[in-house]
Each structure stands twice: as structure tokens, then as C-alpha cells.
């Protein structure tokens, strides 16, 4: 496959080594971190209004976390060797250390918090269901069916403690992703100490937006009334964090423009040509400024519930698209220009290959399938059967 090249490229720069799967990886881990931060709002910071989304946010984080390593595994020529990262850890490699960050976050934070939060439900279900389902729940109880007030209180305290640990862990998980890019000093598009911080805030933005959309969709599917107070509060947090995220990105941009180092002209040309659509149009205009303006309007104007819901839905979708575009522009954009600053290459995405578009679409659908299974197994809402919307109360967990 001939790759169109403009100007001068070194031979090893012509073909991009990091494909769309490496775009998916920070996107997915960002959703995990963001969803967890939203859950912690209720648990640690006692924001009662977002309680209906607490359990949904935890399950969303878990579903996406289970998929997070798959793009990396598919990218590897020898995925079976990834286990060696654990067996013979290389402490001087940030990428090798990610395995431990991932395992810590999955096993010590997310699974533990979900288990403690759901333990009462798991025990009840292990006693009320039959067949294979009963067996699954019994395994999940670990053989202990004690759900006394005292034991649940201990779970609550321990869960709180784990969430407190979980917040820096979520920051670490996604901060690490930004760190990986930010510490590549040979690449001026990536090398920035602001990168981990920008990644964390954009992660929070995307995770909160996805949980908000999932809450709206799942409530609609269950034919319940959306808790508008909850939605307003989530949108408010989304707006605030989005403003900070946008400010940080603009600060980074301003610094680059003012500093105008030897790479600036080349990168500026790239933004005005190859990245114009994905960066300026999709990421900044459609995916950042528009949702911020829309969310800002809901904070200023007195709008009806229906209008607000529609604005939130639109802003949420645009936000997720915008953050995906941000990941795309970081990963792909950082490989399009030559280290000589004299040429540009093109990313040719294949379709039905190991790192092609079809694989990427599958990996984006997979977390929702996992989430569906998790929701069936561990319903995030206490009432299972659908009832008319007029008589519904907001769904919430028993944390």
C-alpha cells in the first residue's frame, strides 16, 4: 500500500506505528476514570443529587476497564508476551508499569468497591434465585451470607475508604496515559508537562458525559422518569470541568504559540492542513466550544425540563465525539509530521484487519455488551420491573 507523503520524511516515519487502536486506548481509559470520578462525587463528596447514577457509573467504569487492555493486546505482535510485564517487571519502563496500575485499579479499587456496594444484593439474590444464576451469586458471596446491620456498616466504611483511594488511583490511571505521551521528548506535539493534567480533565469530561447519556438512555428504556435534579447536577459538573479542561488546552496552545520553538511552523502548518477537520472543526468547534456554550446556556437561561434534557443529550454526544477527536489528534497527529519538520505523511486506516476500523468499532461496542451483562447481573436500580413513568421514582443504589 503506497502511503502519500508530502515533503521529506525519514523512512521510519512514513508508516504510522500507532494506529486507531492506540487512539481507542486513552479514550476508553478516560471513560473509566471519568465514570469513577462521577461515582466518587456521591460517595466521597456526598453530592446526593447524582446518587441515581452512582452504581451505573461504577458498572460503566468496570465495563470499559475490562476492554481497555484489548486495543493494546491487539496492537502487539505477540500479545501472549504481555504477561511477562507482570512476571519480570521492568521498573524503568512507564509502559511496563502500566500493567500494575491497571491491575491495582481493577482489582483493588473497582471490583472491591462494586463487591462491597452490591454485597447485600448479591446475598439476597443468592437466596432468591435458582439454577446457574444462583450458583453465580453464591460464588460472588464468597460463602458468607451475613448481611447484618453491623456488617453492612463495615462495608460502607470500607467502601468509602476504597473510594478515597480510588480517586488518586483514577487520576493515576489516566494521568499515566498523558504521562506516556507527555514524556516523549523527541516529539514536540506530545512533549508537554501539561499533557497528564489535560488528559485527566478530558477523561473526567468524557466519563461524566457517557454516564449522563447512559443514564438518560437506560431510564428511557426502562420507561421511567429521568431525575432532572440529578441530570442538572451532572450537567453542571460537566460544564465546570469542561471549562477547566478547555482552559488548560488553550493555555497549552498559547504557550506553544508564544514559545514558537523550532517545531512550531511545521506543527502549525499541520493543524491548518491535515488536522484542520479533526482538530479545529470536530474537536474544538463541534466537540468543545459548542457543548460548553450549550451547557452554559442551561446554567444561565430558565429552560423547560424537556429542552434541558435535549440540550444535555446533544451536548453529551458532542462532548464524547470531541474527546474522541482529541485522542485522535494527539495519537495520530503526533505521527503525521517528520522529525525533520520538512514533511508530512498520511494515516491509511485499513478496514477488516487486526488494527483496522472494523476492529475499532467492535472494541467500542464491546464495553456496552459487557455493561449489559453487568447490569443484568448487578442491576444498578433497586426496582427491576418496568412501571408507568408517572409513578416512577428516581433509580438509585443502596450504598
Amino acid at each position: 500500500m503506497q502511503i502519500p507523503v508530502e515533503g521529506f520524511m525519514y523512512p521510519n516515519e512514513v508508516e504510522l506505528q500507532w494506529s486507531i487502536l492506540i487512539v481507542l486506548y486513552p479514550f476508553i481509559t478516560g471513560l473509566v476514570a471519568g465514570a469513577f470520578i462521577l461515582a466518587s462525587l456521591e460517595r466521597v463528596f456526598r453530592v446526593e443529587a447524582v446518587k441515581p447514577t452512582y452504581r451505573l457509573a461504577l458498572l460503566t467504569a468496570l465495563a470499559f476497564l475490562l476492554v481497555a487492555p484489548l486495543p493494546l493486546q491487539l496492537h502487539l505482535g505477540h500479545p501472549e508476551r504481555s504477561l511477562e510485564m507482570y512476571l519480570t517487571p521492568h521498573r524503568s519502563s512507564a509502559m511496563a508499569m502500566f500493567g500494575f496500575v491497571y491491575l491495582w485499579y481493577l482489582m483493588a479499587v473497582l471490583l472491591l468497591e462494586i463487591w462491597l456496594d452490591y454485597r447485600r444484593d448479591i446475598v439476597v439474590k443468592s437466596q432468591t434465585t435458582t439454577g446457574v444464576t444462583r450458583l453465580i451469586y453464591r460464588v460472588l458471596t464468597l460463602g458468607s451470607s451475613n448481611i447484618s446491620e453491623r456488617s453492612l456498616h463495615i462495608d460502607e466504611r470500607l467502601g468509602y475508604f476504597i473510594t478515597v483511594i480510588g480517586i488518586p488511583s483514577a487520576f493515576l490511571l489516566h494521568g499515566y496515559v498523558g504521562f506516556i505521551f507527555g514524556s516523549v521528548k523527541a516529539n514536540p506535539w506530545w512533549s508537554s508537562p501539561l499533557m497528564p493534567i489535560v488528559f485527566i480533565f478530558s477523561a473526567m469530561v468524557s466519563g461524566i458525559a457517557v454516564v449522563m447519556l447512559l443514564y438518560m438512555i437506560s431510564t428511557r428504556l426502562r420507561r421511567r422518569e429521568i431525575d432532572i435534579c440529578c441530570l442538572d447536577k451532572i450537567a453542571q459538573y460537566l460544564f465546570y470541568i469542561f471549562v477547566i479542561d478547555f482552559s488548560l488546552e488553550m493555555l497549552d496552545l498559547l504557550q506553544r504559540i508564544y514559545e514558537a520553538d523550532e517545531s512550531f511552523r511545521s506543527l502549525d502548518f499541520m493543524v491548518h492542513t491535515r488536522l484542520w477537520t479533526s482538530q479545529v472543526i470536530v474537536q474544538i468547534v463541534c466537540g468543545t466550544v459548542t457543548p460548553i456554550v450549550l451547557l452554559g446556556l442551561t446554567q444561565i437561561l430558565s429552560l423547560t425540563d424537556t429542552v434541558r434534557k435535549r440540550i444535555y443529550a446533544l451536548a453529551g454526544c458532542l462532548t464524547v465525539i470531541g474527546i474522541f477527536a482529541m485522542r485522535w489528534n494527539v495519537v495520530i497527529g503526533g505521527q503525521l509530521f517528520s522529525k525533520s519538520f520538512l514533511g508530512y505523511t498520511t494515516y491509511k486506516m485499513a478496514f477488516a484487519t487486526r488494527e483496522g476500523l472494523l476492529t475499532a468499532i467492535t472494541l467500542l461496542i464491546l464495553p456496552f455488551i459487557f455493561l449489559l451483562v453487568l447490569v443484568k447481573l448487578l442491576p444498578p436500580w433497586p426496582d427491576a420491573g418496568p412501571v408507568p413513568a408517572s409513578g416512577a421514582s428516581p433509580a438509585h443504589g443502596t450504598s
Binding site: V5, F8, P11, V14, L87, S144, S148, S151, I154
Partner: protein, 163 residues
Amino acid sequence: MFKDIEHLVRLAAVMAIALIAFATMRALVVPRSFGEYGHYRGDAIAEIAARPVAFAGHDVCEACHIDVVEQKKQGKHVVVPCEACHGAQAKHADDPASVKPAKLDTAVVCARCHEANSAKPKGFPQVATADHAGGLACDICHQPHRPKIETPAATKPATEGKK
């Protein structure tokens, strides 16, 4: 009191079992010599050193193929070692009668160096092979050991790049 934390004790036991399983697997799987000299298997050095030599070296080739040496001296390929194109030939050098080198497909081998690429120095001979030869093998026109064609006017296509 214990009854209220029994589930946590069980959880701790599950985690302990998982850790012991991991430690056991690590002890079984990680080679003993790992980390002896660096972040790799120490025994690998001796294993690699024990491998049979695959390359003969151009001095060995030139000892027999004197005619080729003379040809190469007349062209720029004099600096290219024999096995750069012909591949590792230690077995052929050991037993020239029974081990014969495979005939090269010059349409593939030559393109490895001479396919046009903007990253290569301008003075280096390079062509877009699809335009230049249209799939024909290079040795139809060029003698690989002395590639410059002495009467280029008759064969050189109009679209040919810098030679």
C-alpha cells in the same frame, strides 16, 4: 464480631490465594538466569554464542569467485558485501559442491536499496521500479556486479530518475 467481618476475611483469603498462585507461577515460569547480567535471560548469551555461523564473510566468497571480484571492481557495487544480496552463505562456503545459492529475483533484491524514496540522499541511484522496469527483472538490462549500462542511450527510458 468475627461474624460481621467474616466476608472480609474470606475476601482476604481469596486475595492471598491469588497472590500465592501468582508467586508460584512466577517461580516456575521465570528462568533461573533471568536478571543475571541485565533485564534478560543470562543463559541466552551462551545459547546465541553456540548457534552455527550463518555468514561466511566476503573474504571467503572472494577467495573462489575471483571473476566476480574483478567485475565488482569496475562498478560502484564494489563496496557491497556479497551476502548483502545473496544472503547468508556459510553452508555454501563449507560445501560448495552440494549447497548451491538460490538464484536471486533481482526485481525484488535491487528494489530494497534502489526503490525511490524522498528520504534517501539525492545522489543515490533510485528509481520508481514500477515506472522504470514495469515488473521486469533488473538483470535483464543491468549486470548486478557492475550495474552501470555502458550504452545507456539505447535502453534508458525517458521517465527514468537520477541514475
